[in-house]
């Protein structure tokens, strides 16, 4: 469990270091989002990469501008990874897996509703 915890921490840390290094480039880079390429409209998680890069530099306002849900998204994503990959299989950890999955879906759902609101406007 400790080894898996350290491994997950290292991977998440590497992602954030990468986000820190890529910050100057992502703002003018072409999108990788299939949905946006096809429809021209941003998908529920469009802007998350740029927001993450901004967060890695501590630029909260910029992160909020790119995606207001960047912080809760990362919190629930790391929670989901932790409960599914690090915690051993037990009754009480099963409950935490369900809770973390629902929290993740809730954040993605809110992002979806928010983006649909943007499309309509």
């Amino acid at each position: 469990m400790v080894r898996r915890g350290l491994l997950l921490t290292a991977v998440v840390g590497a992602v954030w270091l990468g986000a820190y290094a890529l910050q100057p480039y992502v703002e003018r880079a072409p999108t990788l989002c299939t949905f946006r390429l096809v429809t021209g409209k941003p998908c529920p998680t469009c802007g998350m990469t740029r927001a993450t890069c901004a967060l890695a530099h501590g630029e909260w306002a910029k992160a909020w501008h790119y995606h207001p849900l960047a912080v809760p998204f990362w919190v629930v994503l790391v929670g989901l990874l932790w409960t599914h990959l690090v915690l051993p299989l037990r009754v009480h950890t099963e409950r935490w897996r369900r809770i973390s999955l629902r929290a993740f879906l809730a954040v993605v759902g809110i992002a979806l509703v928010w983006r649909i609101g943007e499309w309509i406007r």
Partner: protein
Amino acid sequence: MGYYVIAHDGNRYGPADAVTLQQWVREGRIAPNTVLEDEFTGTQIRASLLPELSHLFPQSAPPPPYQAPPTPVAGGGPSSQATTALVLGILGLLCCGLLSVPALIVGKREMERIDQGLAPVEGRGLAQAGYILGIIGLVLLGLGVLYFLLAVSVWQPG
């Protein structure tokens, strides 16, 4: 302290604490002659001899000649986790590749739970589809990031 459950095929499940083991006994997943292995010491013991579990087995019942495989849970349709894995897998392909990560993990975990008889077997196809879509989404995301890094390396500021 937890115990691993040694299945008839040699696979180890767990470690599970006493409360979980007792629940598995009540659900018929652990037979009196199922072998349990101490999480820390590696000592193996039959379930019927473990003090925490012995009272749950009927004393008169003879031990079965072999350990039955985990009983698949059937009925009630696929679990919400299996459906979620598939939905996340599709979203990971159509929208942000980041969603492929939870699709892969939730799908894989649900497949394990189904194989252990802890979740409805009807969801296996959905969980597997979510798992595979998650892998495809991650590969595409990786290719996209490679393309992006290549573009960055030849990018001239100004």
